[in-house]
């Protein structure tokens, strides 16, 4: 049981899971409020990474400044995304539109369209090849912890994810803004009637969520040392899966499920070929959904 090989695989799985969790946190926050899948979250992640890269090549500032820069770009991108792709669909307030599923699906498509445009634009501007990050900035120097080898990046990511979680919990439970966010995610119309500025709340949620997405992007870029326009696609899918598995509105749930996904993927390579390891992760998802139809930590389904 304490075979160092399995411990190493476990450690790898945990670190992989943390990378998925980083992305899942922002994704879940946005979904919780608007109840729409944000297809463009992966692109915000990519934008954060590219912003960091551009900053590094332009002025080579210290690493904290790079991350802050990426956060700023993420906030800006989140704001623009909300204004461009999500706001125009809130202009309909007649009954038929509110009940219409088609309207909700249309925000899905608009975010998808925006994600396509952003990705193609990044490809045209930066080229679709993988770009390297200068080695001084990389956070993957190996660190030996007992029989297991981790990298500095693992600790940084763990720290950042924990900070995000704690920060979000504080924000959501102890501040007025958080209260407004929770109110809007529970019942948008009701929140409006009691005087909460739903528009501003939604914008705030998007900005915070996108900042987290961009932070995830730049950290991943520094962790793997590779930045390219299509890098947001797979993490986006994993974040989506983690979010649903965890129960839609629970951010800690999404993090735990992201960890489960990471561990299952990495442990699976022990027993099956690496190509099949994704299969194990998806199998876990289906199993979870069979026994927990509302996700692991999801609330029981209310009468809508």
């Amino acid at each position: 049981m304490f075979d160092p090989y399995y411990l190493q695989q476990l450690a790898i799985g945990l670190s992989l899971g943390m990378t998925y969790a980083l992305m899942a946190i922002g994704f879940t926050l946005i979904f919780g409020v608007l109840n729409v899948v944000n297809f463009a979250h992966g692109e915000i992640y990519t934008l954060g990474a590219f912003a960091g890269l551009v900053l590094i090549s332009a002025t080579a500032p210290p690493i904290v400044a790079v991350i802050l820069g990426a956060l700023a770009i993420g906030a800006l991108a989140g704001f623009s995304l909300e204004r461009i792709a999500f706001k125009p669909f809130r202009r309909f307030t007649d009954e038929a539109s509110l009940k219409s599923r088609a309207m909700r699906e249309s925000t899905l498509l608009s975010s998808l369209a925006v994600s396509i445009v952003v990705r193609e634009a990044l490809e045209i501007v930066f080229g679709s090849q993988m770009r390297s990050v200068p080695f001084e900035y990389l956070i993957n120097t190996p660190v030996r912890v007992g029989p297991v080898i981790l990298v500095t990046g693992d600790f940084i990511i763990f720290g950042v994810a924990a900070a995000m979680l704690i920060g979000l919990q504080y924000l959501l439970t102890r501040t007025r803004v958080g209260l407004a966010i929770r109110a809007v995610s529970n019942n948008p119309l009701g929140a409006k009637y009691v005087g909460i500025d739903t528009d501003r709340t939604i914008i705030t949620t998007f900005v915070v969520g996108s900042m987290m997405g961009a932070a995830a992007g730049i950290l991943m870029g520094l962790y793997y040392g590779a930045v390219f326009p299509a890098m947001g696609f797979t993490p986006g899918i994993k974040a989506f899966v983690a979010m649903v598995m965890g129960g839609l509105s629970s951010i800690p749930g999404a993090v735990i499920c992201a960890l489960i996904l990471g561990i299952s993927e990495s442990m699976a390579t022990t027993f099956v070929s690496s190509g099949w390891s994704d299969m194990v992760a998806y199998g876990f998802l289906i199993l979870t959904l069979i026994f927990f139809p509302n996700g692991l930590f999801g609330a029981r389904r209310e009468r809508v």
Binding site: E123, G127, S128, M130, S132, P142, S266, S274
Partner: protein, 369 residues
């Protein structure tokens, strides 16, 4: 809605109308991924093709050649559409491309039906040249590279090898070409495994490899996955020697992997340090158009493919037809390319010379024999 329809119709009509052209120009088609996930390869091919084309048209031949580039995004749907488009254009007598074997195979079905010679610079599917007599390729297949690498490793005393490759038809051919050769030389394959292309995190796979304690690792990947693999190999502190194929031969591998690429052994057909004049000319032209960057194996392959096709067109002229170009291609013997002398065998495979290369001091250095 109406405006959109109008724009669409106008654009389509313009596209159709634009294909008429003056005589004394021979046209070739080139299908390659100019956008999408593999666009960096397609853009490189286009650059190399333009270098070859400019030289050819400036050399005072009795006719000019024009290449029509079309973007296939490495998608079979688009590839087959483009193939039909090229086939419809009566002035196109030969086609180059595609990048991935999958799209090349799908387009090959169209070219087979239409009798259009198709030369791919990189398609590696084992059945590609078997589709019909119109399919050619100028890249050494893994059926050649595998045994070459196996012999090299055997000569270094390596007995037990772990093989990993990407899960594509090329990766499949890497594993089969190499494993059979290793066993024939008396070695053993510790295990062989496929990973999904684009995987970012190889650490669990690397732990698995380490557990099997092989003498060396043979890898079938392209530079993007290769760089990640090598970096993580270094992170986990593994010192097992790594051997790879010519697909990893790209300056970007060293750029992305940095010190982790040190000591990697691989094969190549192309060495930018080769003093021969045609190689140096290509490298200079490439550097001019790429801010001083040195070309890797793939652009060199494209450059040679275009030049082989141009030579065939010249041989088949005046009045080159698709049949004549095909026959001229089939007769290519000892073509002096930058990737070595190329000849097409009876089954239209390229017979090429391979070179052993090692990464030393942050650069590709030919291994002294």
């Amino acid at each position: 809605m109406n405006f959109r329809l109008l724009t669409l119709t106008t654009l389509t009509a313009a596209g159709i109308a634009g294909s008429a052209f003056a005589a004394d120009t021979v046209k070739l088609g080139y299908q390659l991924p100019l956008t999408g996930d593999t666009a960096q390869y397609g853009q490189d091919f286009r650059k190399a093709a333009e270098i070859a084309l400019t030289e050819f048209n400036a050399a005072g031949k009795p006719f000019k050649v024009e290449i029509v580039f079309e973007d296939s995004r490495s998608d079979a749907k688009e590839g087959t559409n483009i193939a039909r488009k090229f086939v419809d254009d009566k002035e196109i007598v030969g086609v180059l491309g595609d990048f991935t074997s999958g799209v090349s195979m799908a387009s090959a079905q169209v070219y087979k039906e239409a009798g259009m010679p198709q030369l791919s610079q990189t398609a590696s599917h084992p059945d590609y040249t078997k589709v019909s007599k119109y399919q050619f390729r100028n890249i050494a297949t893994q059926a050649q590279e595998g045994p070459y690498n196996a012999k090299w490793m055997a000569s270094k005393g390596i007995k037990n090898v772990a093989v990993i490759a990407e899960q594509t038809d090329w990766g499949q051919s890497v594993v089969s070409g190499f494993s059979d050769a290793v066993k024939a030389n008396g070695g053993t394959v510790a295990f062989s495994e496929f990973f999904n292309r684009g995987l970012k995190d190889y650490r669990s796979l690397i732990s698995k490899i380490e557990r099997a304690k092989p003498d060396a690792i043979y890898t079938g990947f392209f530079y993007e996955d290769g760089a990640q693999f090598l970096k993580q190999l270094q992170q986990l502190g593994i010192k097992t020697p790594v051997y790879s194929t010519s697909a990893a031969y790209s300056p970007k591998l060293i750029e992305l992997a940095g010190g982790a690429a040190e000591g990697v052994h691989l094969t190549s057909n192309f060495l930018p340090t080769d003093p021969s004049p045609n190689v140096q000319h290509f490298v200079d032209e490439w550097k001019k158009r790429s801010d001083g960057a040195v070309p890797g194996q793939f652009p060199a392959q494209a450059y040679d493919a275009v030049r082989i096709m141009l030579a065939a067109v010249e041989k088949a002229s005046p009045n080159p037809t698709r049949e004549k170009v095909r026959d001229a291609l089939a007769q290519t013997k000892d073509f002096p390319g930058v990737t070595g002398k190329t000849s097409f065998s009876a089954d239209r495979e390229a017979e090429k010379e391979l070179v052993k290369v090692e990464v030393k001091g942050g650069a590709f250095v030919p291994v002294a024999e």
